[in-house]
Symmetry: C2
Amino acid sequence: MLTKLEEFILLSVWRLGENAYGATIFRYICDTTGKNLSLGGVYFPLERLTHQGYLRSYMGITTPERKGLSRRYYKLTPKATAALEELRRINETMWAGFPDWAASVQSISK
Amino acid sequence: MLTKLEEFILLSVWRLGENAYGATIFRYICDTTGKNLSLGGVYFPLERLTHQGYLRSYMGITTPERKGLSRRYYKLTPKATAALEELRRINETMWAGFPDWAASVQSISK
DNA sequence: TCACTTTTTCTACATTTTAGAATACGCTTC
DNA sequence: GAAGCGTATTCTAAAATGTAGAAAAAGTGA
């Protein structure tokens, strides 16, 4: 099963689209969760997920007029999309009916 | 931050109500996720969560006419409820707009 | 008493996370 | 053209967490 961090990383890659690389993913997760991750704690799972076939990565070759080391960008593979959809279903079942959840989900009235 | 297992354990305790003890929690999570957890992998975090103040536990003293070791029941503390509500908010933000999610959530049209 | 069922507890090992230091690269400035 | 700065990635060691399964506990029934 994907860990929570892996789940969040995959979702971040999906959401950031063309702009998904280590540093932006790190910042996005920190901002959204309000927690302080460590940088290493995002780069390491990125590699792991790539090895496991959830992500494809490629070096940024375009527009090299910016400062710094060249970026390594990430994209979801179909395997990742499938895993996320399964996870979404599991999450939905687990959380169904939890107080306050009702406010944003249809067809649960309690 | 709570791990995924801890999240699922807390949700199971909430859902199982008066019937939340190690073995039922274990079975509920296995059934819902379709994964094979190990038993030890549920008892250990249960103790951890209790120590950290997310759960209160008490031994089952009622109706001792059943077989087996006496059960240790669990209940959520207010700290756990608060953590779950925060997590729900984070999850909602992370998952908002993800394909297929739309089917069960209001006001997302894409 | 012995075997059986349900449940918890324990142990050893593998994986994942945390925290932060080290390294890389390309501008800019002196 | 060397030094410093900002953006990024890579690496390392320690701590926390998860996996797998064996062992133990307690009551029931043969």
